[in-house]
C-alpha cells in the first residue's frame, strides 16, 4: 500500500452481534461460531420484530380489498419495493419484481425473457463458478430448445478470465449470465467491464447477486446491467423472498411466467390482458410479511457504513487465510485479488463432511460439500470443500474457534 492508503473506518462487530440473539446461544455447550452466512444469514431482532408487529397491526392481502388493512399492507409492500429499488440503485420502482428468492428471479429471466428469443444453436455465456441456480435454468433452455452453453473458465487463483469471456461472446450469444460474487471462491467479477464488453456486442447481462449484494454496494444504473437477482435470506432478511431488477425495456417485452391473480388486467372466457410490470410477474398472493422483513433488513444493512462493514469482513478473511496458510496441510481454493469474504479449503486426509462434523461439535458452523457448484468443483478437481463465509457479525474469535477446530479434526482423523 502507498502512503495514500485509505483510512478504514471502524466497525463495531461486538455491538452488531447484540442484534442477533441466536449468536449468543451455545451449540453443544460451546459458543457458536456461525461461519455459514453464505448459505443463509442470521436475522437481526429488528427484522423479526417488525415482521411480527406488521402482522399484528397492518396485515391483510395486498392490491385487493378496499378495506383499511388491505390499503395499509399494500402501502408497506410497495414501500418495500422502493427500498429494494434504492438498495440496488434502480431508476424506477417498477423495475423491481418480487420473487420467492434468487433462484426464482433467475428462472423468471430464463422463462419470460430468454425462452421466447432462443433459436436452435443460440448461445448463453456463463462462467464455471456459477451456482446451480445460475446454471440449471440455462440447461433447461439447452435441453428444451437447443441452446448452447458457452463456459468461461476461471484462472487458477479463481479470478475470471475476462479475455476468455470476451471471446466467448459471439453473434449467436443471447445472454451473459454471471455471478457477481462466487459462493465458493469469493471471487468478485468485474461486472461493469463485463457489461461494457457484452453491450458492445449487443448482448444483455444478468448477474446473480445472491452473494454480491450482501458484500458490495450495487448500483445497477452505474453498471448499466440488464438483470440483477438478489435473495432476502442472505441479506439478513427472511426466507421466501427475493427480487429481480430488470430494465424497464426488458420487462415490457417479457411474457408472464406464472399465471393467476394480480398479474392480469382483464379475464374473459375468450381472452386475457395482463397487468403492467412488475405486477405482471407477481401472480398470486406475494410474500407480504417477508417483503416488510426484507425492507427492514436492507435498511439495517444500509444503516451501517458499508465500506466499514466490508473492511471488517476483509479483516476476518485475511486473518483466516493467514491462519490456514500456516497449516501446510490445508489448501485454499480461490485466492483472487480483492475477493469477497468467503474462504474455501481442503484439508489433507480429511473429507469436508468429517471435518464439518468435528467443527460442529466445537460450535463452529461451516458449510461442507459441493456448494451447489459442481461445475466449479470439477474445474478444481475436488468433490467437496469446506467453506467459511463471513458476515458483519463475525469476529476474529470465530476464526480462532475454526482454526483450533481444524487442529482437533486433524488429531482425530489423520
Amino acid at each position: 500500500m502507498s502512503a495514500a492508503a485509505k483510512i478504514i473506518p471502524a466497525f463495531d462487530a461486538q455491538a452488531a452481534r447484540r442484534d442477533f440473539a441466536i449468536l449468543a446461544k451455545p451449540v453443544y455447550g460451546k459458543p457458536l461460531a456461525y461461519l455459514d452466512s453464505g448459505a443463509s444469514a442470521q436475522k437481526p431482532a429488528i427484522v423479526l420484530e417488525t415482521m411480527k408487529a406488521f402482522a399484528e397491526t397492518e396485515y391483510a392481502n395486498v392490491h385487493r380489498g378496499v378495506h383499511y388493512l388491505s390499503g395499509a399492507a399494500t402501502d408497506r409492500y410497495e414501500a418495500a419495493r422502493r427500498t429494494v429499488q434504492k438498495f440496488l440503485g434502480a431508476a424506477a420502482e417498477d423495475e423491481i419484481v418480487f420473487t420467492k428468492g434468487g433462484t426464482e428471479a433467475i428462472n423468471l429471466v430464463a422463462y419470460s425473457y430468454l425462452m421466447p428469443l432462443i433459436q436452435l444453436g443460440d448461445e448463453i455465456v456463463l462462467s464455471v463458478m456459477e451456482h446451480h441456480s445460475n446454471i440449471v435454468p440455462w440447461h433447461f433452455l439447452r435441453e428444451r430448445q437447443g441452446a448452447v452453453l458457452r463456459w468461461v473458465d476461471v484462472q487458477e487463483d479463481g479470478s475470471l478470465d475476462i479475455a476468455a469471456l470476451d471471446a466467448a461472446i459471439t453473434p449467436k450469444t443471447k445472454l451473459v449470465a454471471i455471478t457477481h460474487m462466487s459462493n465458493v471462491l469469493g471471487t468478485l467479477t468485474p461486472l461493469a467491464e463485463i457489461v461494457k464488453r457484452a453491450h458492445a456486442k449487443g448482448v444483455p447481462v444478468l448477474a446473480d447477486g445472491a452473494q454480491g449484494a450482501v458484500h458490495e454496494i450495487v448500483d445497477v444504473q452505474a453498471l448499466d446491467i440488464d438483470f440483477y437477482a438478489i435473495t432476502g435470506h442472505k441479506l439478513y432478511g427472511p426466507t421466501g423472498i427475493g427480487a429481480l431488477f430488470a430494465k424497464r425495456a426488458h420487462l415490457k417485452t417479457m411474457r408472464p411466467f406464472n399465471g393467476g391473480g394480480e398479474m392480469i388486467r382483464e379475464v374473459t372466457r375468450e381472452r386475457i390482458t395482463y397487468a403492467d410490470p412488475p405486477a405482471r410477474f407477481e401472480a398470486g398472493t406475494p410474500p407480504i410479511i417477508e417483503s416488510v422483513g426484507l425492507a427492514v433488513a436492507l435498511d439495517y444493512l444500509s444503516g451501517f457504513d458499508r465500506a466499514a462493514v466490508k473492511a471488517h469482513e476483509h479483516d476476518l478473511l485475511s486473518y483466516a487465510r493467514e491462519g490456514v496458510r500456516q497449516l501446510n496441510w490445508v489448501r485454499v481454493i480461490g485466492d483472487a485479488p480483492g475477493k469477497g469474504a468467503i474462504l474455501s479449503f481442503e484439508a489433507e486426509g480429511m473429507h469436508a463432511h468429517d471435518l464439518a462434523t468435528i467443527l460442529d461439535r466445537e460450535g463452529v458452523a461451516v458449510r461442507a460439500g459441493h456448494h451447489c457448484a459442481q461445475v466449479l468443483m470439477e474445474r478444481f478437481g475436488v468433490t467437496s470443500t469446506s467453506r467459511a463465509s463471513f458476515a458483519l457479525y463475525n469476529t476474529r474469535a470465530d476464526v480462532d474457534a475454526m482454526l483450533s477446530g481444524l487442529h482437533k479434526a486433524r488429531e482425530i482423523l489423520v
Binding site: 468435528i358 460439500g369 467437496s384 482423523l413
Partner: protein, 147 residues
Amino acid sequence: MDNSLRELYQEVILDHSRHPRHYGVLEAATHKAEGYNPLCGDRVTVYLVLDGQGRVADIRFEGKGCAISQASASLMTDLLAGKTAAEAEQLMEGFLHIVKGETPSALPEDARDHMDVMSGLSAFPMRVKCATLAWHTYKNAVEEGAQ
C-alpha cells in the same frame, strides 16, 4: 474432547476408511450398482458375484467420500461376503436399526459386534445417510443391477 466424536471416529472406523477391505473393481460381477449422495457427493459402486442361490460369492466396492461412507462400505463387504440372500437381508435391516440408535431384532451376535462400531452414528443424525449409502447400493445391485 467430545466423547461422541471419539466414538464416531474410533480407530476401527478410521482403519476401514484408510484401508478399505474388498476394494476395487470386480470384473466378473454378476450384479453391480452405483450409489450417489447428491447432498455431499459421496459415491460408492458395489460389485457382486451372486451364485445360483443368491449367495454373495464375492463382493467388492469402489468409492470416494467421507470416512463414514467409506468405512461403512468396507465394513459391509466384510459382513456380506459369503452370506445368503436371507442372511444379507437380515444384516442390512439390523444395520439400519443400529445407526439410528435402535435395537435390532434377530441379528447374529458376531454381526452385531462388528456393527457396534457404527452405533456412535446415532448421535449424528445428519450423517446417517453417509453410512447407509453402501447398503442401499448393495440392495440396488441385487434387485436391479444384474449384468
